[in-house]
Symmetry: C2
Subunit: 204 residues, 2 copies
DNA sequence: CTCGCTAAACCGACCGTTCGGTCTATTGAC
DNA sequence: GTCAATAGACCGAACGGTCGGTTTAGCGAG
């Protein structure tokens, strides 16, 4: 039994995953071809299937990783905010600024892994649910602390994710707004109002 | 020049379009195959390509039609509402009840035509923009009539579409809520609040 | 140190299938 | 007869995945 890998496995595997982000962002799930990914990563089909059981499995690993990383980033950024509503508002800001700086992350996570038929979509939904889950958690806390009135936090968290997604999608496809983050203040305000909060009362 | 078609052209063409709805709803754009569509419609590849230049063109005709029909339906349903805000709230209700009754329309228009790479997505975006356009129109009228404060109606209309889409998508994929229209009151309320309106003041 | 062995890692030709689209032949209405 | 409409075999390309062969790196024996 080898103490260390025979070959630096992190290299080919990581290169494949990095290339997959590029291809997924450009082409969407269905049209992202394994050959194109291995070409871009300077690896081979054999290597690809050594590391991943199938294309679908590879994409799931990748999307799982990307969404987890993003959720952790949000957690870190907002945890010192004083109240749940501050935290959830801060989370929206972090999401927007992250997507603004990493278009491909937005393209993959928000747009290109859905819309491929029910069978596929269902598999990616739990990852997408992570954002809504984060928002719901904070909204639940806000209700528990009496910061907002009791309301359907499941529905609201989904609405928040959908709102944000649509704004980002338009930006990705049309370039409007010119700078995605230009939309953040108004988006944030509208979302806060949707849960009965005066936006001016929440400085983040 | 024939006074009437050799064969009832509306028949094959319509059957193709009807079949395409089914296949698109189930498989998404990329995986919706022409052969599957012609099989389902009991026509042939030859017939398909007689009527439509390409698969893409066919889908664009179909989606254009579906979205126009839906927008017209909303127009008709809301035009007698007393104010712009009544009309836009009514529009949300009509959209939700329509999608609740016609899952395939929801699957095609809201979910399965996006996410297929930038090139494809850009082509379908104008059709999707129709809903946002309708909402924006009414929000603009509401601002002009002093019903709501001046605000970024472009952004808000997109947020509204995104919110609605996400709720419908979840219903399509998970069956929650059990009845989609169960979510309508809370959705409507949150959306109205997002533009600074007290939901209780708007009876539709 | 060298060398042989082993298994992980990788390569890329190949497979069967599917795909959008083409094109020749046929049908049917006038 | 003409021509619109249709059928379906066929095309080349692309696809996810397979598999025999090669390379690489590490280990242990001498």
């Amino acid at each position: 039994m080898r103490a260390t890998p025979a070959i630096d496995t992190s290299d080919a595997r990581e290169r494949i995953l990095d290339a997959a982000v590029e291809v997924l962002a450009q082409r969407g799930y269905s049209a992202a071809g394994v050959q194109e990914i291995v070409d871009l990563s300077c690896t081979s089909k054999g290597s690809f299937y050594f590391h991943f059981q199938s294309k679908e499995k590879m994409v799931m690993v990748l999307v799982d990783r990307m969404s987890e990383k993003l959720v952790n980033k949000i957690h870190d950024a907002i945890r010192r905010q004083p109240t749940p509503v501050h935290r959830v508002a801060g989370g929206i800001e972090v999401l927007m600024s992250t997507f603004a700086r990493q278009r491909k992350v937005a393209q993959v996570l928000l747009l290109n892994i859905m819309g491929h038929g029910k069978a596929v979509d269902k598999k990616f939904l739990p990852m997408r649910d992570r954002f809504a889950g984060l928002i719901q958690q904070e909204l639940d806390a806000a209700v528990a602390q009496g910061q907002i009135a009791p309301q359907d936090t499941v529905l609201l968290s989904r609405m928040w994710v959908g709102s944000l997604q649509e704004v980002v999608l338009r930006w990705l496809l049309t370039g409007q707004p010119n700078h995605l983050t230009d939309a953040t203040p108004a988006l944030r305000s509208a979302l806060l109002r949707s849960i009965g909060i005066d936006p001016a009362a929440i400085q983040t």
